[in-house]
């Protein structure tokens, strides 16, 4: 593409919250290019995008879009210019239907062919039939062919909701599309679909600002990458002539090692600590049996909606399994256990780091320390259940430093931390509980490369110390680098168990599709990769 004058150019942008978040940041984005933004958690990526798309307004600095000065007061203003954004957090309406969510901004405008365009009521009435019709096509573009547009969004899995968010913007006249960590909740086949869409947009001369923490994606989809550090743009280069190491250096400032396979060769004796037997939950998964061993990381792969989260929830007693049972080494497997509430699970030494930190994990209004010690107040209180701030700090601090959680003040509400730091707080809680068996559901979702490494190291240390770790991940690369043993779920059943040695991207994907009867379409897509 000809690098004449940029579509979007930003000069000396400043944004101040309680602290300075963006400091005279410069950035150029050309027409028809996919411009990746990278940077550690809290670097200011989301904030920057929020300013470009009019959600927030900068304190100083100026932007130009398509030659004209650009200082949107509101989302609408930015959208009028053709700038659309898919935010990091979901912004859906749980009790509205999928179709209504897709066309929320044009509820009154979308009409069927048969319905007259110009009635006195047009713009006021909702034509549910037309909405439905037009939804199918959009849903297909993000591979959600199988869901009913009339279904309330609340019944979709998290990943499906993320795809919906993306589908929402695809039918607009886009000039600049901002995707803030769109793949965080997606599995590889969906990511493929997303990339197809991005490439189509690029062909149409529309440019894309793409935020992600995943190197491999950036490599495949982006033309150039800009790295943010502490609110400054420290470098902008074509992806082709930048390598992972230098990227991490740029993001981190001081040196940080790249990640090489962490599956440790030293095979210490890995005795089974927990056995899952024929576990089933009506309509979500069935006949799930596997072993969890001390000193190893068991990775669980599969597509969105394959039932992994639901399995984890049942192991932890968040939901009750309909049949099947759990057995533990502590009573040499002769007791049948069924966890019908988290307390039982914790009593049996099982903990779960949930997938959806905002809805199910954190107290967004409470400060970091309160969030970390949640569930262990007894440990930090005197006989009369009186809390001791000292003991609270004593319990929380080590993990704050271990995961180096970034916050402005003791009292800052966790809700104000960046996505990645929120995730770390949640992990810190479960580390501090010191349980022998920890289940992680998408532990590195929305987490930057460095933090990701830190978390991976934490998981490693856990198993090294003889604990058992189970990790659900939708990122095949992560599964491969981290797991000692792999289970792949497909449509609510276990499709394969693979050892670290013979695990390959190919095998995992094949297994993921084993029990879906509509392999036809999507299956073909997989072979393409």
């Amino acid at each position: 593409m000809e690098k004449t004058n940029p579509l979007l150019s930003i000069r000396g942008l400043n944004k101040q919250f309680t602290v300075a978040v963006l400091q005279d940041l410069d950035l150029q984005c050309y027409a028809g290019e996919v411009h990746a933004l990278m940077g550690s958690n809290g670097a200011g990526k989301s904030t920057l995008c929020n300013i470009i798309s009019g959600v927030l307004t900068a304190n100083s600095g100026d932007m130009e879009f398509d030659g004209r000065p650009h200082a949107p007061e509101s989302l609408l203003e930015a959208e009028a210019a053709g700038i659309y954004m898919v935010m990091q957090e979901l912004n859906l309406f749980p009790t509205l239907s999928v179709a209504e969510n897709l066309f929320f901004k044009q509820l009154g405008v979308v009409r069927g062919e048969n319905t007259p365009q110009k009635t006195p009521m047009s713009g006021l009435l909702v034509d549910h039939g037309a909405l439905r019709e037009q939804s199918y096509e959009l849903l297909a573009r993000v591979g959600l062919n199988n869901i009913d547009p009339a279904m309330p969004v609340s019944e979709l899995g998290l990943g499906q909701q993320q795809l919906l968010e993306i589908a929402r913007v695809l039918h607009y006249p886009l000039r600049l599309l901002i995707l803030d960590e769109p793949t965080a909740a997606l599995t590889d086949p969906q990511i493929e679909l997303l990339f197809e869409q991005i490439n189509m947009l690029r062909e149409r001369g529309c440019s894309v600002v793409y935020i992600s923490h995943r190197m491999d994606e950036i490599r495949r989809v982006a033309d150039r990458v800009s790295v943010l550090r502490d609110g400054r743009c420290v470098a902008t280069q074509p992806v082709t002539d930048i390598d992972v190491d230098s990227l991490i250096h740029l993001m981190a400032g001081e040196g940080a090692a790249t990640e090489r396979s962490l599956a440790d060769s030293a095979k210490r004796n890995r005795h089974t600590v927990m056995r899952v037997e024929h576990l089933a939950r009506e309509g979500v998964f069935r006949d799930v049996s596997f072993e969890i061993r001390a000193g190893e990381i068991l990775g669980i792969g599969g597509l969105i909606g394959s039932g992994r989260t639901e399995v984890m929830r049942c192991l932890f007693g968040a939901d009750k399994a309909d049949s099947g049972c759990l057995r533990f080494a502590r009573d040499n497997f002769d007791q049948r256990h069924i966890h019908d509430c988290p307390q039982n699970a914790i009593a049996n030494g099982v903990g779960l780091v949930v997938e959806d930190r905002k809805a199910q994990g954190l107290l967004l209004r409470a400060p970091v320390a309160d969030n970390i010690v949640l569930g262990q107040e007894r440990r930090i209180s005197s006989a009369l259940c009186v809390l001791s701030s000292a003991r609270e700090a004593e319990l929380a601090e080590p993990y704050v430093t271990l995961l180096n959680i970034k916050y402005d003040s003791q009292q800052q509400a966790v809700g104000q931390l960046s996505g990645g730091n929120q995730q770390k707080v949640l992990i810190a809680r479960w580390l501090s509980m010191e349980l022998p068996i920890l289940l992680f559901d998408e532990p590195t979702r929305g987490v930057d490369a460095r933090t990701k490494q830190a978390i991976h190291r934490v998981l490693r240390d856990l198993v090294a110390a003889g604990n058992a770790v189970v990790m659900v991940s939708s990122e095949t690369q992560e599964l491969l680098t981290l797991s000692d043993r792999l289970i792949v779920m497909s449509n609510g059943r276990i499709a394969a168990e693979i050892s670290a040695e013979e695990a390959t991207q190919e095998r995992i994907l094949r297994a993921s599709f084993r029990y879906y009867n509509d392999v036809g379409t999507s299956g073909a897509r997989i072979d393409a990769t």
Binding site: T95, F104, K105, L124, V126, A150, S154
Partner: protein, 323 residues
Amino acid sequence: MRLDTVRLPWNSIGLLAVLLALVLLFSVLSNYFFSALTFRTLLNQIPALTVIAVGMTYVLLIAGIDLSVGSVMALCAAVAGVLLAQFGWSLWLAVPAAMLTGLACGALNGYISARWRISSFVVTLGMLEIARGGAYLVTDSQTQYVGNAVGIFGATLPGLGVSISLIIALLVVLAAQFVLVKTVFGRYMVAIGTNEEAVRLSGINPIRYKIMVFVLAGLLTGLGGVFQLGYLQSADPNAGLGLELSAIAAVVIGGTSLSGGRGSVINSFLGVLIIAVMQTGLAQLGVSEPSKRIITGVVIVAAVVFDVYREKFSFINAGKKLS
């Protein structure tokens, strides 16, 4: 016309079951209950509560609440009453005046709670006191007798034997349900009730719609006042004490969630019917006051428990996923 666009735990079977159960029960217990006459009288009593419950449904849908309906209704009836009885206005001027009064109160509720971001509970609690005071003021604390001037609202239609008010109220219910599920305004209400911030981010100004909802609720309360006036042919400044609770009870029995985003006008109407049937039935049996209270309380809770448990699965789910 399919009114429910979204599968949600508020389809009406459960409520109808409860309603029929009550009707059967009373028909068995009292030999005079199951008669056209009874049902007519019953139906002619509910128009006011019905339209007010409709407004309340909208307010709860946007995760608000309106405690002022009782005294606002009294105020509106009072205004019309005074205008008719003392200033000799014609009905066609007095009625709009009453409804405008309701509209004004609603506008105030909406503006302060939405624009200034004050919990509507507080604002309408204040309005509850203010409107009552207003009712005393305009009537000079005297019941205003208007007689047949408003007869036409109370007048029963030949053949059907139900009042014009009822017909209007039923039309309001249908219209309101239509607006809720088939118009942009309705869908926005639901959206605002579940995720106001997201509405704002999609460039729609929730405040405007919230104010509109309260205005509408006020207007309907005014209409309720007019119906009341037509029914009693007189305006009592003390009318509608505790009406807010009956209205909310009816709506909540109808399965509308107090936390917003989920509800149905039709079901609120069923809720109203359940309450009315219970009152009439107990009265015809001549049950003692204490027992009346206890039974009423039990039925309110039972109705909701029943409704929830019929829908347990989807209910829990919703709970889990929407939190």
